[in-house]
Symmetry: C2
Subunit: 409 residues, 2 copies
């Protein structure tokens, strides 16, 4: 008898040992993922793998609410297909109260391991919300709800695992202490990884915001040009995405393109702020903002410096070689410069500027079409029309308020 | 006999289980540490704790070299004291060749577990460097050299543990597979944590560089003002440190202070670039750069926005209430504004400016002393003299090259 127990203990130990090693590997994978959205999906995925279950969700604490951010369900995915599932997914927020299971866990820091959620006692503080089951004809049964606690033991979110499966695919309760311990450990690693990814995301957002703020100040000499710079930066990314650029390149464009007109700080007021038309000499002076911008940005050392310099210098070149400052032709113009050229002109046309009124969308489209192969790279014009819906969304979302002034192109 | 082996297996399993749990906790602690230097120390510390040894070092791979970045040694610390040890520590670089043990591990990715480094076979590819032992009258004996492999299995560094100890404090060889496995796992977690901390460090450096670049462009209208902005930013941090500000506050000042003159973009050329003295009206106009700067930065959303606005608006206020734009008195002026006021004036005085030649250090010191309680907060003047050595180092390290031009204060 004693020997039997020992044998069992060895098997358990070996299983646990294997799982903890796995957990270690997962921890490394989690902390390697810097993209917050991907990380959140990965956490649920790995947790489900670790204890073998059909479905799982993730909630992130935000002030007094729990944001529902990830939902995975193998049965539903098999039934409806991945695309449909993605379409159906809607994020929502939940108050953190003891009434819901996730709220209960977020509030108390306790693990809930429920064999069948349809048989939760009426006297229990928490209840199960059956909306999901009813809406999707799904049967939630066993459930493991675990807090994500960070290194200071603060709950930053909740992971909810649904319907543990045995090897034959039958729904069983989650195994006791072992599953709880594993998911708890995973939860701690996940919490730290989430915090890190969030810090990086916040830092990047602050960085971008500073670029927008300083670039706009430099371009507009304190007159508010509204959201022009943000829009150009976002159009450029949309075009780049359609052109198949990698994520890293898109990020470079996002950060570098707002600085395209930084060289205007070097243009004398007498020219930059002159009302009405400029003469030939004055045009030559204003065209120098490309060269000046390139010089300014050539002093920067960061990862965006090469591309920001490139964009500042070449965003007024034209595909047919009639642009400035270097009359580059076709693909002599760096791709980034060709992208921002279209984004910049499109935004100038579609917005009310001090020296002309806004054009209708149809007129703008007509001009862009006509300039394909002349001002613009035809490839980028195609990308523009292919991402037209997204571009208009960016425009609508970042519209200037009516009071805002503007500058020349 | 069989039973005995099983008993041994159980004890081993339980030991390993405990250690792996510990490892898990360490992984979380490592990934929570964002400061690279602290992280590197922590890695060696935790590794030494995990396998109980007297000393340890860490090498980080940088191109074709191994940088020696951490050295811990309990025996030496007991003998000489912590302070002396820190003073003696010198970072150096090693070529990555098979000749040294750390180079061997970095190159091959193999673990070296050596019972006595004085008895390495003459035919071995690697040799032990006994300089450290000779210089410090230390006896290195057992050694465990483990690669730090990241999530892509690339070696990013090497950890070298020296002189494993038994419970009585006697030097013993590192236990075989178990110690190797533990340190290897720790190494993987450490590698990812190092990569993350490095990414954050790089991102912050890029951010600061962009702020420097754009702030300088805005202030100088493309005329190179040299390193003025970098110096003011660094003096301000030195002053803040001496005043006892927390690390986070120092970081805010580092990032926010370079933008103190951003409002100059709103000052007309006719005033900003006027040679010679300004009349009363013109002075009033130029003084508006504080208000304009405050307005520009009030649009920013990042973590530095509050303090950068504060600094832009108040860095020309004077402690006795005779400054501008709001004639604030004493501690009505935010601390950040009072700090940058002194840093900005000091740098203006000590550098050659277009409208006056540089002053001698003695003259500058005299002015700052005289202005204590008038222009400057006496507390900050004290901090200035207390950190004078560091301030002069910042000045020397960031000197303008002779060709560079300059602007007015």
């Amino acid at each position: 008898m004693k020997l039997l127990m020992k044998r069992k203990k060895i098997v358990e130990n070996e299983y646990l040992e294997k799982q903890v090693h796995k957990l270690n590997k997962i921890g490394i994978a989690l902390t390697s993922e810097q993209n917050l959205d991907k990380l959140l999906e990965m956490i649920v995925w790995e947790a489900r793998n670790l204890v073998n279950c059909d479905a799982g969700s993730l909630y992130i604490k935000k002030d007094d609410l729990l944001d529902f951010v990830v939902s995975q369900n193998d049965t539903m995915t098999k039934r409806l297909g991945e695309a449909k599932i993605k379409e159906l997914f809607k994020t929502f927020s939940l108050p953190i109260t003891k009434e819901s299971v996730s709220g209960y866990t977020a509030l108390t820091g306790e693990i809930l391991n429920i064999p069948d959620v349809y048989e939760i006692s009426k006297n229990s503080e928490y209840k199960i919300n059956l909306d999901y089951d009813r809406r999707n004809q799904y049967r939630s049964r066993s459930m493991l709800v675990v807090p994500l606690k960070d290194n200071e033991n603060k709950v930053i979110g909740v992971i909810q695992l649904i319907n543990a499966l045995d090897k034959a695919g039958n729904i069983i309760p989650f195994s006791g202490a072992m599953a709880e311990e594993l998911i708890c450990s995973l939860g701690s690693q996940a919490a730290v990884a989430i915090k890190n990814a969030q810090l990086t995301k916040d830092l990047k957002a602050a960085y971008l915001d500073t670029i927008y703020c300083l670039s706009e100040a430099a371009e507009s000499k304190d007159k508010d040009t509204g959201m022009h710079i943000q829009r150009v930066s976002n159009y450029s990314v949309a075009l780049g995405k359609k052109l198949g650029l990698a994520e890293r390149e898109l990020e470079l464009i996002l950060y570098a393109s707002p600085m395209h007109d930084i060289g205007k700080v070097g243009i004398p007021d007498a020219v930059l702020l002159k009302p009405g038309k400029l003469d030939v000499e004055e045009r030559k002076i204003i065209e120098q903002h490309t060269v000046i911008g390139g010089n300014i940005l050539s002093k920067a050392k960061g990862p965006f410096s090469k591309i920001s310099k490139e964009i500042a210098l070449t965003h007024h070149e034209k595909f047919d070689g009639t642009g400035y400052p270097n009359k580059l032709i076709g693909e002599e113009i760096p791709l980034s410069g060709r992208i921002v050229a279209l984004a910049d002109v499109f935004d100038a046309l579609i917005n009310k500027r001090c020296y002309k009124s806004a054009m209708s969308c149809d007129d703008v489209i007509e001009i862009i079409k006509k300039e394909s192969g002349k001002h613009f790279d035809p490839k980028i014009v195609t990308a523009f029309f292919d991402s037209y819906k997204e571009i208009i969304e960016i425009f609508e979302k970042n519209k200037d308020t009516p009071l805002e002034n503007s500058t020349k192109i």
